[in-house]
Amino acid sequence: MIKVAYIVVGWNNQDLLGECFDSINSQTYADKLIVYVDNNSSDDSVEFVKKNYPEVKIIEEGTNTGFAKGNNIGIKAALKEPGVGYIALINSDARLEPKWTQQIIDFSLLKPKGALFQSMTLDYYNHQIIDSTHIYISHNGQGTQAGWRYYFKSELGPSKVFGVNAAACMITRKFIEAQPFRSELFDERLFMYLEDIDLAARATVMGWDNYLVPNARAYHMGSVSSGKNPGFSLYMTFRNNTAVLLKNLPLSILIKILPKLVRADIETIKTLRRADKKAEAAKVLKGRLVGIIRLPLFFGRRMKMSRYRVINKQRLWRLMDKGY
């Protein structure tokens, strides 16, 4: 039996951890390994996990390294264990249905070239509403969450998508081992936000397949850890967006989306100002400018990525339309 390693990264949210580990423990798929990466929490998260869930492997970081590095450390530790074939990334505010793992693994066995798998992620508070079905880079260059706040219809079938939401997703070991940047799955230079878009774009342009498995269900609260500070999230999103686009997309598509990107940014700033959120609008502008200044950091990675790029450009452009 292939082992599944669940990785939970936590920072100051001890109140969520109990339910999260309970839902992982209730999975019908038996062979599992749980890794908890603690990003220097100031509350008693570590003691809580040690006391209540002794089977969990705990990795403590001295500083707050962010989502990307925390997950990378967890993945590195998990892959050292023998027989681990899948990595499941679970946010501390996500909950899984008991059959989640079983259904995704059943599906993934049909797909030898599958990299990332996502369940239907519904809203934690209202199960009729979708939190996310997949993520994609739209034609105007913005990383977009698909299906957010739409009503859930049960008839959706499994489909190939651009990328998956990292709130609750499954990654195959084959894909992690095929990474161009050694074992670094998430780009640590991004620190926080849009790492999943980066990963999705990388998997797609490298010719791997990402899938939405709608039978499996997960529930997500959404932006608990950092939702308290919207200015910061906007700043990080726009800063990282510039880097993600440069790193992964072919030049012809970059040129194609540039005018739309500028227009979309202006629209965003206008909308924020109209809603009397001038501080946030300034953050967007700042994020974009800092992103442009930081571009040289990512040139090397772009050159390396371009060697692994196999997807047909027209196909990629069509996939970017709606994400499926």
């Binding site: 008839e155 079938g157 489909s159 047909n312």
Partner: protein, 542 residues
């Protein structure tokens, strides 16, 4: 009848202005058609996301999709593979017959097994022909049903599920769906074809079923798969053989589930690039007629590629029954009859009411007159001397002289009630039979031009209809009697679109005739068939 002064004035003005208004109206109708075509893409994108799955129906049958591939374009090919992978129905297998000669193309196809474990690659040693390549793919198919797919076409995500749901409900052997076309780069949907329900007589004229068709695998094996000497029309041949030999039940799903890519060499763009197809189609139909023991010949229609006409020959005499005529229309009726049977070859007998007695001598035919009575038509069909009967309740003349005999011969040949298409002088269809719709029986293509291309196919196709509209119709004496006695019958009704009857020119030459066909002529300028627009596709006719 007395009209008021205002009404007469208005009629006068309208008569003057009509010449300006009519061209404007025709341009407007053309614009409506064009905009419907332009809007189709938006609807198709919406349709692509719709879900047609009926969760109440349980189906466990396996579907094998067989795709012959020969040096394919990588992008188009992957599009096809992913459209199968994205299928909602998960009990399928995709069998790709790799007959490519280029090494790059061979590798590309062989790498497809990485995408899904349900994909199987079968290597053909050499590219012999499309039929034998497909047969190689049929051999290892494990499914209960087989679907044939072209290497660059696309499926709707719910395509297999919708078809198998229909199969579970009707227990049919062959299920087909509607289709449309997609541009070379896959960016735009256009040219939908909403197909009628199972119409055996249309099938003898054109392979309207085409894609996407799911066929029971047992039957495909029973007729030994595709026939190698019908390349180009191999699917046409297969369908005919299965339906003729195995008595297959056919059903359809009225949803657009298949996108036919119009690649440069594909038949979607221009069928006339491949002339060998027509010969293969002719062979197919000749064999089909032989199996059915029908004495007729097949003609390839040169101006309409892919279409065939079955020519029934008969020199049998015919009886014409003319319905009751109003007093003031009788002189016109005499003129019309004179024109109708001008220079006829076969013996003709006319059965008409006894007002005609004084004119009997001027017509070169046997005239039988009988007293006006309540069930005149019923009585007339009883006393008719010959077996082949044509009933006229409206005045119209065939635009070619031999159409009158052809109509009778066709009715005898296909053994059903047949009516011609009745058009006005500008080829506007006045009457092409009645078809079933959501609102009950509706006139088919009324108000469209003869030969127009609609979303439901062209208006000049032979069609199986729910009922003839009882203006002009032909059939065997006993069948005609069944129609007149209003019994429930199991007759098949067909509008034979190759025979065109014209009413307009006749009315123009005879000013007195105003009102004779009044119901038809008035409606001519009013009704555009609503169901020809895409948003009414649910109201589509049979």
């Amino acid at each position: 009848m007395e009209y008021s002064f205002q009404a007469r004035l208005a009629a006068k003005v309208i008569r003057r202005v009509k010449f300006i208004l009519l061209p404007i109206k025709s341009v407007y109708i053309k614009y409506l058609n064009l905009s419907a075509r332009r809007n189709y893409h938006a609807w198709a994108v919406h349709n692509e996301r719709a879900c047609f799955v009926d969760n109440g129906v349980k189906t466990e049958q396996k579907v094998s999709i067989v795709v012959p591939a020969f040096n394919t374009d990588s992008d188009h090919f992957l599009g096809m593979v992913y459209s199968v992978i994205n299928q909602h129905y998960d009990n399928w297998e995709l069998i790709i017959v790799n007959a490519s000669s280029e090494p790059a193309s061979i590798d590309k196809i062989n790498n497809c097994t990485d995408l899904d474990t349900r994909i199987k690659i079968v290597g053909a040693k050499e590219n012999i022909s499309i039929s034998s390549n497909t047969n190689i793919g049929i051999a290892p198919a494990e499914g209960d049903f087989i679907a044939f797919l072209d290497h660059d076409d696309l499926l709707h995500p719910c395509a297999l599920h919708a078809l198998m749901n229909e199969q579970a409900l009707t227990d049919a052997d062959i299920i087909y769906s509607d289709e449309d076309k997609v541009t070379h780069d896959g960016s735009r949907y256009y040219g939908p074809h909403c197909k009628p329900g199972w119409s055996p007589h249309l099938m003898e004229n054109v392979n309207y079923i085409n894609h996407l068709t799911v066929i029971r695998a047992k039957l495909v094996r029973k007729v030994n798969g595709l026939n190698d000497d019908c390349n180009g029309a191999q699917d046409y041949d297969l369908l005919h053989r299965i339906i003729d030999i195995c008595n297959a039940r056919v059903s359809n799903v009225a949803k657009i589930l298949y996108h036919w890519r119009s690649a440069e060499t594909s038949t979607a763009r221009d069928i006339s690039t491949k002339t060998y197809i027509f010969e293969a189609g002719k062979t197919t139909l000749t064999r089909h007629l032989k199996r059915k023991n029908i004495n007729a010949s097949v003609k390839v229609l040169g101006d309409k590629p892919g279409f065939y006409k079955i020519e029934y020959k008969s020199a049998d005499p015919i009886s014409l029954i003319v319905g009751p005529v109003d007093v003031f229309l009788r002189p016109a009726c005499v003129n019309w009859l004179k024109e109708l049977i001008l220079d006829h070859e076969n013996p003709i007998e006319i059965i008409i009411e006894d007002w005609f007695k004084p004119y009997a001598k001027i017509l070169d035919a046997t005239i039988i007159t009988c007293l006006p009575q309540k069930d005149f038509l019923n009585h007339a069909s009883r006393i008719a001397k010959y077996d082949n009967v044509i009933v006229f309740k409206e005045a119209a003349v065939p635009i070619e002289k031999e159409y009158l005999y052809e109509l009778a011969a066709v009715a005898k040949g296909i053994n059903s009630i047949v009516q011609p298409i009745i058009v006005g002088s500008d080829r506007t269809i006045i009457d092409a039979g009645l078809v079933e719709s959501k609102y009950g029986l509706q006139p088919l293509f009324k108000g469209l031009k003869y030969g127009d291309n609609t979303f439901f196919g062209n208006t000049d196709w032979v069609r199986d209809i729910a009922r003839v509209s009882e203006s002009i119709y032909a059939g065997h004496k006993s069948d005609i009697r069944k129609i007149h006695s209003k019994q429930k019958d199991d007759l098949s009704h067909v509008v034979w679109a190759h025979t065109v009857f014209e009413t307009r020119s006749y009315l123009q030459s005879n000013k007195n005739l105003k009102g004779f066909n009044s119901q038809l002529t008035q409606s001519m300028f009013e009704v555009r068939m609503v169901a020809t627009t895409w948003d009414e596709q649910k109201d589509r006719s049979e």
